[in-house]
Symmetry: C2
Subunit: 237 residues, 2 copies
């Protein structure tokens, strides 16, 4: 579902913190590629679709209070506030689809698993209360396919772009690929190189770390589906 | 000068309007590719260089009051305010350099002219007080080279990306290529197609149109030179 159209992570926060969050995303454009920003108080994302109401159009939401998960809900209409700003952030599906079209077989796609995600020791660039370490996803490729995966994904800056690292996971602070911080443990496949891409969990962690009184995100795996072609150069209908 | 490093347009405005301006740039990412944003009140652009002070490091500045040019100066130290936010916006030099490396001959570069710029009838997407029509630059190519120019420039989303239009100028509201709104009049070269790219004059016009009490930009042609490699995927040192 959604193949062909841009999908997005969602972050909703009070306008008081919106400029800092937007600066955080600009400074960390690989983990946080902004694809849309609402007007203050407006639940519609008019640049991403003709009728996207962020209060109801995502299948599930996480509600965080003071940086702690408070609840998960399917509708945030009664939580909506006039000072909310919604950010839509690109996700890796777009470049995964492109890799698939180029003949790449992705383990987690074939096996219907969740891509493994890891905390790294690579610091992001702070903005206001937002900061923390980069989170990455991992996909393993045969050594002679790494450059092709890099050049394909680099064409999609709105979907995290090219990888941030390929090689020994310990160099970026990952002790054991078999125990990801999120997602499913990958098999150990001989003669492959692990390749790491910046991950949309990074801004989500940055938001939690800021311990704002109230923030809302999509529930992981329950993305916003936009009307924008995922091949589009800019994310505007 | 500056070949090899990212150059940028500059816009400095009060924090009161910074979020709206940043939304405007996000919604109009082709004319307004943000490559850096300062902290509020901080004259340093720390993500773009180790020692960039925007009060002194641009050769010339334009000071606008209520949307009208008030003066041009070489230093804005005594105008600096604690509520200023600086935006650095990518420019076309990066993709022009890439076209040059691919063997393209650009008339305005060969003749040491200023690229012709035109107002179009293509509306930008509003944000707060910022809006107005798209301004474009024009470069003419032989028909069999247009696709190559398109695919090369598309690799540089921080430098306006791919062209917005190629063909009959009247379709985008340009009556006469011989009378550009800014820059030098191009020669009429037989067997070429005019190709149009989004231009950094667009956000500058949007700022003037907003008639803010005080805004500062670089003086056209006097760009900010950053420490970022112009081939970089993201504009962060």
């Amino acid at each position: 579902m959604g193949a062909g159209f841009l999908q997005a992570n969602l972050a909703i926060l009070p306008v008081e913190h919106a400029l800092d969050f937007m600066r955080y995303c600009q400074r960390n454009a690989k983990p946080c590629p902004i694809v849309g920003v609402s007007e203050t108080g407006d639940p519609m994302l008019s640049t991403l679709g003709s009728d996207i109401d962020v209060r109801t159009d995502v299948p599930a939401y996480n509600i965080y209070r003071d940086g702690v998960l408070d609840s998960s809900v399917n509708d945030i209409s009664d939580l909506w506030r006039e000072d909310f700003v919604t950010f839509a952030i690109g996700c890796s599906f777009t470049f995964e689809h492109a890799l698939g079209r180029a003949g790449f077989k992705l383990w987690h796609v074939l096996e219907n698993k969740v891509v493994p995600m890891y905390r790294t020791n690579i610091a992001t660039r702070d903005a206001g209360p937002f900061g923390g370490d980069l989170v990455v996803t991992m996909r393993a490729f045969h050594p002679d396919k790494v450059d092709e995966a890099r050049s394909i994904s680099r064409r999609y800056p709105l979907a995290h772009g090219g990888p941030v690292f390929a090689g020994d996971p310990q160099e970026i602070g990952i002790a054991d690929l078999g125990t990801p911080d999120w997602g499913d443990a990958p098999p150990d496949i001989e003669n492959t190189i692990p390749v790491f891409w910046a991950c949309g969990v990074t801004p989500q962690n940055a938001i939690l770390r800021a311990k704002l009184p109230l923030t809302i995100t999509h529930k992981p795996g329950h993305m916003l589906l936009t009307d924008v072609d995922e091949q589009a150069e800019i994310p505007v209908i």
